[in-house]
């Protein structure tokens, strides 16, 4: 009897006891491992290199020798030289740790932001294997770290922007106070005019005391409208994504310039954002840096999907728009759009069209509108 029992005990029971004890120890270590993961910054621009920090602490007197974490990041966040697994739009980066008792490792990863967007890491997988890999413990650890990558700023200084192109003052007919920096001509002196306003050369010419006459100006509000449709008949998803991405970059550049020049700016687009993908974008007008940051946030989270037919959207957002500088970013121009632009010009608006497609033809361009190929 014993001859039969002893081998059974040796071959089955002892390995089983060993296995279960290894499992229990592994579970104990796993319960004492603390893990956090976060981006060092919460905002960056496209092309920037940022850092992602992983912190693992083995708060236990036993070593956690084979610990692995899987970071589930976006594919547009490029990790330095690793060869990670790409699953659709997700990039899975594995990271191995070997921790002694009470040891803490702070791992700093280098990342490159390849594309604008709002990137969120919600859960990372933590896996701990025991000695001889008899037991493997695994769990999804909530991380909740978020990064907003703003669009790249395009260098457009030598292309379209010159002098008062977008951000200068516009001469108007009547206003309460004149602009001391804009001189319209000279007029005769009236009692009460200050001495420093006297135009001496005109006085010598007319043999009468003449003073400088100033003009009336007004600063126009900028209104940037982005057409998310890359072609005329596009019903949902954007076909030519590169063009629209470039349009977003151009819009970001305009916002940046507006902030530098202190111009009031408003933005509208017939697409939704990541948070609210069923609503079109129409922001209030503002000139503060917070407002511009908000606009950049909107651009970062923009979903390339047409929610509303652009012509209809364009007409609705520009109803009752007067004395404004309208910048239209679009890949094409059709007759319906030309009609709306014509109406806008009639309502004393300055309209500038930035055509994103270099090969697009502007059909029936209305007089008074400026066209730029960017």
């Amino acid at each position: 009897m014993l001859i039969v029992l002893i081998p059974i005990v040796l071959l089955i029971v002892v390995p089983m006891i060993f296995w279960y004890s290894v499992k229990a120890i592994n579970q104990y270590i796993f319960d004492h491992v603390e893990y956090t993961c976060r981006f060092v910054v919460n905002k960056a621009h496209e092309g920037d290199t940022i850092y992602l920090i992983e912190e693992v602490h083995n708060n236990c007197f036993l070593p956690a020798k084979r610990l692995m974490t899987s970071i589930h990041a976006s594919r547009w966040l490029e990790f330095a030289t690793t060869q990670p697994n790409l699953v659709g739009l997700t990039r899975v980066v594995t990271s191995e740790f070997s921790l002694k008792a009470y040891e803490r490792i702070k791992r700093t990863w280098h990342l490159r932001c390849a594309k604008r967007g709002v990137y969120e890491i919600q859960n990372n997988t933590l896996t701990l294997a025991s000695v001889f890999q008899l037991s493997v413990q695994s769990a999804a650890i909530p991380v909740n770290t978020k990064l907003t990558v703003f669009p790249e700023i395009v260098d457009m200084r030598y292309m379209i922007f010159s002098g008062n192109d977008f951000f200068g003052d516009t001469v108007i007919r009547r206003w309460i106070l004149d602009d001391p920096f804009i001189t319209a001509g000279a007029r005769e002196y009236f009692p009460g005019d200050p001495m420093n306003r006297i135009h001496w050369s005109a006085t010598a010419k007319h043999n009468n005391i003449m003073v400088r006459k100033n003009d009336y100006t007004a600063k126009l509000d900028l209104f940037v409208i982005l057409n998310i449709q890359s072609v005329d008949n596009e019903y949902e998803d954007v076909i030519n994504k590169d063009l629209i991405e470039y349009g977003i970059k151009v819009a970001a550049t305009v916002f940046d310039l507006a902030l530098k020049n202190g111009a009031k700016i408003q933005f509208a687009c017939n697409a939704g954002t990541q948070g609210e993908s069923t609503k079109t974008v129409l922001t209030p007008s503002g000139s503060s840096s917070q407002h511009v940051q908000h606009l950049l946030n909107v651009l970062s989270g923009m979903v390339l999907k047409n929610i509303r037919y652009f012509e209809e959207f364009f007409r609705n957002v520009t109803v009752d728009k007067k004395d404004a500088e309208i910048i239209l970013l679009t890949c094409y121009i059709n007759r319906e759009m030309s009609d709306i632009i014509r109406d806008l010009i009639r309502a004393r608006n300055n309209v500038k069209i930035l055509l994103l497609d270099r090969y697009a033809k502007a059909i029936a361009m209305p007089e008074g509108a400026d066209l730029y190929y960017v």
Partner: protein, 399 residues
């Protein structure tokens, strides 16, 4: 100065011990003709243990260095299975061989596995004469396997290293216990020490040193035993043990500075960090703990504390200065929690400002807290404040 030096280079010191020990044994065996055998045994076991520890340490290092991309895989499992099969075959072989031969043969094999053939001559000089050829024959195949595993299949190296070290230790003990008639061996050794001549005198002096060391070690063991008893009797077994281990680690590693390792993809900053003991002594809120409390006032406070700890775990964003009303408002983010939180907050306010509560109400508070605890744990809620953000993201809230 010496202490610091030892601290810094202690692993190097141990490793060098391990490397030199077989040679020491060999020289010793040649000169002294196998006296003072027990010292050798203890030293050998000590070295084997250090080798085992070094093996584990190396394993971790090697694992990091490899930076494997997938883990664990079937491929790896196959390797483990193969090694396990080898071990099983060895064990079966051990079972089939005559009982008298098992210990020696298996031990010889395991020695071959860890590439310590020199120990053959050193440690078992007495048996060398009659078993020399046999032993070498046993060692050859295992040495070949070792060679193959170490140099041809490097993937299996670390797992194999561990197993080999482990088998060495286990079989070393096995062999020593099988072949040792303790009283006879001690008599024999002391008899040999009585020999005249310089070598004998030298060994005698060392023997005194060893016996002194043994006495000290015995005292230490006794002290440890008493300490262990104290721990057991005071019902602080786990806590005390943890403190003991932490203390040992602190002693060795507290002053260790942060180590920086630069890799191509990332930078590692490694340090040792002990969780503050004050934090460890904080009250832990559990349902079991709630039912243990008899005092009604303490029970209501504990019930509220239980819910607060749950909300903290869920990262609801409750701060220490929040009033009960604010807490009630903030907790609304968890679905269906209102029905438990509102009466519980009301009860807690009575206790908080009046310090009075009857038993029936406290029982009610406990039931509410348990229900709230279950609701919070079962709910799914992601915090809007992100780990790296110092403000709310505007983009998702507007438009």
């Amino acid at each position: 100065m010496f202490k610091e030096h030892l601290k810094k280079y202690r692993f190097v010191f141990f490793r060098s011990l391990l490397a030199f020990y077989p040679f020491i044994l060999m020289v010793d065996a040649l000169i002294a003709e196998r006296n003072a055998w027990y010292m050798e045994l203890w030293c050998y076991l000590f070295c084997a243990f250090i080798a085992f520890a070094a093996g584990i340490g190396y394993e971790g290092y090697y694992f990091n260095r490899l930076r494997q991309k997938e883990y664990p895989t079937r491929k790896r499992f196959r390797q483990v299975a193969a090694i396990a099969a080898v071990i099983m075959i060895v064990l079966l072989y051990g079972l089939l061989t005559p009982v008298d031969e098992v210990a020696r043969r298996v031990y010889t094999l395991s020695r071959g596995l860890v590439v310590y053939p020199v120990m053959e001559a050193a440690f078992f000089a007495r048996e060398v004469e009659k078993n020399k050829i046999k032993d070498i024959l046993y060692m050859v195949p295992s040495f070949i396997v070792t060679f193959l595993l170490y140099f041809v299949f490097p993937q299996a190296r670390r797992i194999y290293g561990n197993i080999a070290m482990l088998t060495l230790v286990v079989h070393g003990i096995f062999f020593a216990t099988y072949y040792t008639d303790l009283s006879a061996r001690i008599k024999q050794t002391y008899g040999r020490l009585k020999t005249r001549g310089s070598i004998g005198r030298f060994l005698k002096a060392w023997s005194a040193f060893v016996s002194k060391a043994r006495t000290l070690a015995g005292d230490l063991l006794m002290q440890m035993r008493e300490r262990w008893k104290d721990l057991t009797y005071n019902f602080f077994l786990v806590k005390g043990f943890k403190k003991l281990i932490t203390g040992i680690f602190r002693f060795f590693r507290r002053d260790k500075e942060t180590k920086t390792e630069r890799h191509s993809d990332y930078i590692d900053e490694i340090d040792t960090w002990f969780v503050d003991e004050d934090n460890a002594d904080r009250v832990r809120y559990t349902v079991r703990g709630l039912y243990k409390i008899k005092d009604p006032v303490r029970k209501v406070r504990y019930a509220f504390g239980l819910v607060m700890s749950d909300l903290k775990e869920k990262k609801v964003g409750i701060r220490y200065f929040d009033t009960v009303t604010v807490i009630g408002e903030k907790s609304k983010v968890i679905k269906d929690l209102d029905q438990y939180m509102n009466p519980l907050c009301e009860m807690y306010e009575h206790v908080r400002y009046g310090d009075r509560c009857d038993e029936q109400r406290s029982e009610g508070a406990a039931i509410l807290a348990v229900s709230a605890d279950t609701t919070i744990k079962e709910s799914y809620w992601q915090p809007k404040v992100y780990a790296n953000s110092d403000f709310e993201f505007e983009g998702s809230d507007q438009n």
